[in-house]
């Protein structure tokens, strides 16, 4: 009984320390997230990658402009006049796989682009995120592209 009683303060101390640790870690993560998004943001509204071979553009909107910090991914056709175009094939469909979550289908938005929204809760702040985009022209797979460098 005496032993059980004497262990209570120790357990309480450990619990407080763990609680403080979690709070500090959360603060550090929040700071890291904020700093990362500030750094990415600048004056930019999006991070872009152009695939000239087929003539399309992938865009990830600046998460700093989104209160939920979700990642909005869009794909659009660049038309026939883009430089170094090899085969002018417009992207008709795309799938996006983020970490181990089920694949998202990009769907047409009001501007005629393909779009998907990745909830911020799907992204890790500690480990590297994987975001793989597969772009199709009808039944043909155009590219499978890793988006690690674009706001992830």
């Amino acid at each position: 009984m005496k032993n059980n009683l004497s262990i209570v303060p120790i357990l309480l101390t450990v619990a407080v320390l763990l609680g403080s640790g979690v709070a500090v870690a959360k603060s550090v993560l929040h700071f890291a997230e904020h700093a990362q998004e500030q750094e990415f943001a600048g004056a930019k509204s999006s991070r872009q990658l152009n695939v000239h071979f087929y003539g399309y553009q992938i865009k990830v909107l600046n998460p700093g402009l989104n209160p939920q910090r979700d990642r909005v991914v869009r794909i659009r056709d660049l038309g026939p006049k883009v430089s170094n175009l090899q085969q002018d094939l417009d992207p008709t469909a795309a799938k996006l796989t983020v970490n181990s979550h089920p694949a998202l289908d990009l769907v047409p938005n009001s501007q005629g682009e393909l779009q998907a929204i990745i909830p911020a809760s799907w992204l890790s702040l500690i480990t590297a995120n994987t975001a793989t985009l597969t772009v199709f022209h009808n039944q043909k797979t155009l590219n499978q592209i890793s988006l690690e460098g674009m706001f992830f």
């Binding site: 450990v14 320390l17 640790g21 870690a25 872009q48 152009n50 090899q86 890793s146």
Partner: protein, 138 residues
Amino acid sequence: MLKRLKISLFLLVATALAACNATIVETDCMKVVATKVEKDGWLVQISAISIEVKDGCNKVKAARYKSYREKNGKPGYQLDPQPSDELVDQKEAEVDEDTSTLNITNVSNSNPNTGRADSWQLEIDHEGGGSSTFSGNF
């Protein structure tokens, strides 16, 4: 316990601040990786852009990297239409024999003489002809 907590926090912060590798683009035939990316405010410095060709795909003969200021609103570095994009820096890597890996070293978005770039372009020449071009913004 406190010591472990401090070590964990140190590792967390160190991981967040350390130079890292970033995949610029990966297709079914190649992977382009920026190695040791360091950011200090707007300045981006990259130890090397590494182009790795996957098995069964055409090898790489040469690669050209350009950093520039986008002026005409058209994707990629272009002199036409006006106003022309402004070249900040360019680097080229060529090999005598076709290879599966090619590196362009010491890449940055800034040049002491020409200023700061907001965009980049990477053009990769393949064995047997043909090229792949990617571009984007910093």
